[in-house]
Amino acid sequence: MAAPRLARREFHKLVGGGIVVLFGASALPMAQAQGRRPYPSDFHAYLSIGDNGRVTVYSGKIEMGQGVMTSLAQMAAEELGVDLASIDMVLGDTDTCPWDMGTFGSMTTRMFGPALRAAAARAREVVKSLAAARLEVPGDRLRLEHGVVSVIGEPGQRVSFAELSKSVRIAEAVDQAAVLRAAADFSVMGRSPSRLDGAEKVTGAAKYAADIRLPGMLYARILRPPVHGAALNKADTTAAKALPGVVVIERDDLIAVLHAEPDSAAAALALVQADWRLPDMTLGPDTVFEHILAHAGDQKQIAVKGDLGSAPVARTFETTFQKGYVAHAPMEPHAALADVRHGGATVWASTQTPFPTRDSVAKALGFDPKTVRIITPFLGGGFGGKSASGQAVEAARLSQICGKPVQVERTRSEEFFYDTFDPASVVTVSSALDRDGRISRWDYAVFAAGERGANPFYDIPNLRIRSAGGTSYGGAPAVAGLHPFAVGPWRGPGANMNVFATESQIDIMAAAAGVDPVAFRLKHITDPRMRRVLQAVSAAFGWRPSVGASGSGQGVACSSDAGSCVATMAEVKVDLATGKVTVLRIVCAQDMGVVVNPNGARMQIEGGLTMGLGYTLTEELRFNGGDILDRNFDTYHLPRFSGAPRIEAILVKNDDLEPQGCGEPAITTTGAVIANAVFDATGVRMLRLPMTPERILAALPTSAQRK
């Protein structure tokens, strides 16, 4: 049962009659920043008002926990003048939703938001003019509220959206000049309604890709190499084939065992005997940094200002920072169900990139992309790791071969093995203070992390920022062999490392200058937004000005990311006997422009900071060359309840600025804020993440030295 293919020009047939707002020929300029192509000008719609008055919003974005199902609905409801409850969301369906590059980079609200709001504003004008004709009054005498148009001052004179859209078939293009509602007039945006996906998620009704069932479907388990770079000599599937109900598929690059029960498929796969040729395996978590420095390739100049050579120098500071590979480890492993029959393909996939995934599925099947439909159910977390969606291609190929719907759900071991890890990386900084204790030069080079967050927002007259072996968006670098396995974007890609290095170095200089770290920062920050968040967090946290290590364990870090300004403070306790860091509390202030959903924003900030404690304190992939040694949560340690501190998120009001990114900025401060707090507590400066108890213990002076 392949889902019906849509005739391209029959959108009305799909959504019924009513009012549909389509893309205008002129793509919104903001949308172009989204990537390689602007939002398209083809038939796909942003939203439709059905003849029952319900509004359906279509977005190529996906819901992976970041709450866009609710926040996008709020934007549409606000501009249209309808209640949130009358909005239905269709997300990540390539047949009905506008083309989209993918959900990452904290861009949904910033980039798609304005497009959607403009579409809703256009629909509002259409509704208004229909109502003006119906009620025989000029449009400026009408008010739109709760899905009803009424005449101002004559509430009896009214007509509902449902009545208006009943007998019409209107397709309007988005008007670029749409007038959006001002923050001061918001009645749906700027509030925190209950999440639209709440009831489904607490009752188990919410569907994720592995929850989709089709009659006759098979579950596949795929033969995987033991290490990256291994080559198959031969595989013997005889024993697996002998089991009842087992289907074995063998292609050059794909050997799979399929069964109507996933666990029986797994049991059958265990019977496959495979003989592998293993590659040379030498790199490990401790040797990889030298390898990266040697092989990162040409340095790209990211920014340059003044003249490093002639900067006045009283004291210089040379520091090298390191950070290991980190897994995305979403609780939901990658999964997909593919139905490739009758000349078309429908794939339900756990993916952050439905449209690019459609193209790669089409390519693998030898199909025209028009005949491939990707449907994206809820994602159980993504964090950048589901930008790559190879499982969808595997499921589609297997379904094409066996002629039945096929599900591929990665085991946890496969999820670790095929993760596109946050790359291990190195930063070297050489900076200087002049005689007045101001930063006079800043020579910064990042290796393998990429340049996001590398250019400091501080007022520094002479600086140079270079990047090698990384990309601006956290994608895999063009340098072959730099990493022994796949790497890719990881929530706040690159910025986690760059903020850790920058904000640690700032603290190092503050201590040397004999200035309180907050005062030192304020002395070098001119951006009024950044000053405001830093002052807000200081007040809420109760920052106690101090010079050098105060012993009280407080730390600060700032970040400018995805258009938002963040300042975070933390308080930690370090057990000198074990080296264990306990984070007691975190306060984070963020200016993200207009806030669409304050509670949702706070959840993103809290969630980001909690997740960030992983790469800061416990998470670092262990590997031996292409052999991924951590394959489950028994040895790879995510943050747990006992390590989750109280987190207070403060949203610093800035309604003059369009909504900015929210899912990533806060997490980028985690490494530095904790490292700075550990320094304050112990006087020890940690230069490598994660700061495991062993590393802290090794860095602490022995008790004899302490005396």
Partner: protein, 158 residues
């Protein structure tokens, strides 16, 4: 070994013929089409697959079908009664105690069993009780807040 196993599932009788060494998680998700119970690690580490059996939380990924013969099994699909959410479910919504929602079924069932055994746990006991449930989205403090609110308001009402 193929056999017929009978148990009570979310208040109703179930009789099922299957290899009784199979893990309950896959039987629930495949044979019984109850997909609210999630696979996260398959090794009893993450709690995504938690179910309540005779009032106690178990990890269904490690529990052979034969072990539930004659037992009362509660999954996330049975937590709401007559269309009314359980107070824990409502509290999770009110506190925003989930983001992606993938860990939520397991969190709710482990919390449910926790409150059955100790209707008024301290915050520290809640944290300790939930320690082996993983949430990658970082909803931890809200999950604890939600459980705490239910425990102080209603105790372990079922």
């Amino acid at each position: 070994m193929k056999s017929t196993v009978q148990f009570s599932l979310n208040g109703g009788p179930v009789s099922l013929t299957a290899d009784d060494g199979r893990m309950l998680l896959w039987v629930l998700r495949t044979d019984l089409a109850l997909t609210g119970t999630k696979y996260g690690c398959g090794e009893g580490i993450c709690g995504a697959c938690a179910v309540v059996i005779n009032g106690q939380a178990h990890r269904s990924c490690r529990l052979p079908l034969k072990d539930v013969a004659g037992a009362e099994v509660l999954t996330i699909e049975g937590l709401a009664k007559d269309g009314r959410l359980h107070p824990l479910q409502q509290a999770f919504i009110d506190h925003g105690a989930f983001q992606c929602g993938y860990c939520t079924s397991g969190m709710l069932l482990d919390a449910y069993a926790l409150l059955l055994s100790d209707p008024r746990p301290s915050r520290a006991k809640i944290v300790a009780g939930m320690e082996h449930n993983l949430c990658r989205c970082g909803a931890h403090q809200r999950i604890v807040d939600a459980i705490e609110q239910v425990s102080t308001q209603t105790g372990a009402e079922t």
